[in-house]
Symmetry: C2
Subunit: 84 residues, 2 copies
């Protein structure tokens, strides 16, 4: 059994309204940051997964994302898996 | 003026309590994912910055993180800047 580091990047899907991103953009404008645009806010979840192989760790992490970490209706996720 | 894509990864600092991460770990355990551990939950913010150069875009984005996007007391951030 090895430990793998997993980084899950979870973002609102294209076309899905992102109120958090709109709020951040408003905040940036209020602070005078005119150069910023198209803000999207997502989640970054880092964790360890104990598994025999990197593929097994990725499969486990995919299942975790589908069942708990991401909302598949409005969010998409990408995984990076590396050895700890 | 060019547009640059900025990806800001904002995570709770080492040693700072991460109640969101603890809640996610509890959720994973309840769903039977025994292999997961050490969960840390952060934010992933993607946006565009209009600037003359990549360095200028990075400097602007750093300022945005310091002033609004991240809480420097409990969070640290990393930036990736690429041309749009």
């Amino acid at each position: 059994m090895k430990n793998f580091l997993v980084e899950a990047e979870i973002m609102p899907k294209r076309g899905v309204n992102d109120p958090q991103g709109e709020a951040v953009l408003s905040g940036l404008r209020l602070l005078g940051f005119e150069a910023a645009s198209k803000v999207r806010v997502g989640k970054l979840i880092r964790f360890q997964v104990a598994a025999e192989t990197s593929d097994e760790a990725r499969a486990d992490a995919t299942s975790m994302c589908e069942k708990l970490l991401a909302n598949p209706v409005i969010e998409e996720f990408e995984l990076e898996v590396s050895e700890a």
